[in-house]
Amino acid sequence: MDGVVSFFDYLTNNLDDVMELTIEHAIYIVTVMVAATVVGVGLGVWVQDKPVQKEVALGIASVFITLPSLALFTIFIPIVGLGFWSAFIALFMYALLPILRNTVTGLAEVSPAVLESARGMGLTSRERLWKIQLPLAWPVIVTGVRVASLLTAGIAAIATLIAGGGLGDFIKDGLTNWGFRLAAEKIWTGTLFIILLALIFDGIFGLIRKYTTSPGLR
């Protein structure tokens, strides 16, 4: 019981810090999602009918995701320095694969008969992409973004190690002061709020998927 009470005490006493770092963390998720969605979907559209480029793109994105995160976060320090941008690039590389893969899968699942009839009716290739292919692939693409957001919420905790801020600050603080007062509370605060953020983004993308998908596809 003592632990729980002191955790809540810690929380109320440091609410300003908690809010600030939660917002920093959320900014990572939002900016990375925007960038990775634009690039992932764009790349997915571009490679969908090019088998070689498709394999190359998926292969590279797969390599990104298998790199050890600690290493990936440090690779870019010589180029963009410590802080936000290094972390942003690393998170972006992680988020790319689920979005790219789901875009490619979603587009591939569009029925050839639907595309044939669209072409036969005189829809230009641009109209087919925007009016037929993307709307049909949309639920799958949103699911990819949703997965990517969960991934980013968790891995963004490492940003703290390259002075990138975010909720990882609490965890690092707790770890480096292990054995001292409030160390466990700090770790719990960081972990709990990362989980909360992840759940919120999961819920948001669930709602986006529900309300932006045609009833004809449900």
Binding site: A113, G120, M121
Partner: protein, 384 residues
């Protein structure tokens, strides 16, 4: 070159990259205005390729396509396709769009205002026999196969194109529904008078649907191009004879429709019936069968004398009417249905299911004898 030709393929060739043999070789084809031209042939003969060359879904490697006097071989293909309705076997309705949005696709591409599009959608839904109030806001997944194909046809007619290209449009539908859709489509075409190119591998369907038939062999070479009657009566060569197969006489039954014949009278009684009325009707009947109708005039039961000998109520006596024929049915359709009928006679009904008259097997045998005579004359001429 005739004035009747609305579309003309001149010396059209298609060679796919990496192949030596052309898929379509130097094809000259005239597509008559306001009629159904059926392209029929064994699989791999290039009939679908030929169809897709017309709206340039496949770009020709050589030759010219003349559309209503205009050379369209190199015009913008997307714009060309908006002037040509296109129906494929898998239909390809857009699953994320409502029925109304599907049908309104081409009109909206052409920039019609929404009031005009809405009115056109309702008109087309009614034309294919679907209630706009019910179906306008539905999605394709809520339709049966037959309904989806009707919407497919309505969508192809969206902007009232002069030409329809149909690639095995009824190929994936069960035989009974297919029959009904063919009949409906012919009824529609008799009003619309579109220029239609219709691809099928089924010679029976070709004979039923075609005003003209082009029988194609490999590389889309025309083995014979003529009316169904002429092709059945005078196959131009061994290939055509083989393709028609045995039973050319039976296929001739596809040429005539029930509506072309004079229906016979069957004595009818309207429920509820009395024993005397039934007896009277049966006595009037030449083969001892009388037909009972319900209050709307729809056939319900066949009655003969044995039915009266039974103890059960008259409304339950006799044999239930299981099959009826329609005026659009070909004699072949009718024959198949009549073979299922206990009485050897079928009741012909209008689209609302009301009794119009009877069709007896003798009507068919008379017609068959006529065909046989033609066939004998043909063989005599061939041997001479």
């Amino acid at each position: 070159m005739t004035d009747k030709a609305f579309i003309r393929l001149e010396n059209v060739t298609k060679v796919y990259p990496g192949t030596e043999e052309p898929a379509v070789a130097e094809l000259d084809l005239e597509i008559p205005k306001g009629e159904i031209l059926v392209l029929v042939g064994p699989s791999g003969c290039g009939k679908s390729t030929t169809l897709r060359l017309i709206n340039r879904m496949i770009e020709p490697s050589g030759g010219r396509i003349i559309f209503d006097g205009e050379d369209v071989t190199t015009v913008n293909a997307d714009h060309l396709r908006r002037r040509i309705g296109y129906v494929i076997q898998q239909i390809g309705l857009f699953p994320h769009r409502t029925i109304a949005e599907n049908i309104g696709t081409v009109p909206r591409l052409l920039g019609w205002d929404s009031a005009r599009v809405d009115a056109r959608v309702d008109e087309l839904l009614e034309m294919v026999g679907m209630d706009p109030k019910i179906y306008r806001t539905r999605y394709p997944k809520e339709l049966s196969g037959g309904q989806a194909q009707r919407v497919g046809v309505a969508r192809a007619l969206g902007a009232d194109p002069e030409v329809l290209l149909m690639d095995e449009p009824f190929g994936a539908i069960d035989p009974i529904t297919r029959d009904r859709l063919q009949n409906e489509f012919l009824r529609l075409q008799s009003e619309l008078q579109k220029t239609i190119v219709f691809v099928t591998h089924d010679i029976d369907e070709a004979i039923k649907m075609g005003d003209q038939i082009a029988i194609l062999r490999e590389q889309s070479r025309i083995a014979q191009y003529d009316t169904p009657e002429a092709i059945l009566a005078h196959p131009a060569n061994a290939f055509v004879e083989d393709f028609l197969g045995s039973g050319a006489i039976l296929k001739g039954l596809n040429l005539k429709r029930i509506g072309d014949l004079e229906l016979t009278e069957i004595p009818t009684i309207t429920a509820p019936v009395s024993r005397d009325a039934v007896l009277q009707a049966i006595e009037k009947s030449i083969d001892g069968w009388a037909l009972m109708l319900d209050k709307d005039g729809k056939p319900t039961r066949w009655l003969d004398r044995t039915a009266l000998d039974r103890a059960e109520g008259l409304d339950e006596a006799g044999q239930r009417v299981r099959v009826t024929v329609e005026p659009e049915d070909t004699l072949r359709d009718a024959l198949e249905k009549m073979l299922l009928s206990v009485t050897g006679c079928a009741a012909c009904v209008d689209p609302q299911g009301r009794y119009m008259g009877g069709v007896r097997l003798e009507l068919l045998t008379d017609f068959l004898q006529e065909l046989q005579r033609v066939e004998r004359n043909r063989q005599a001429a061939a041997n001479a």
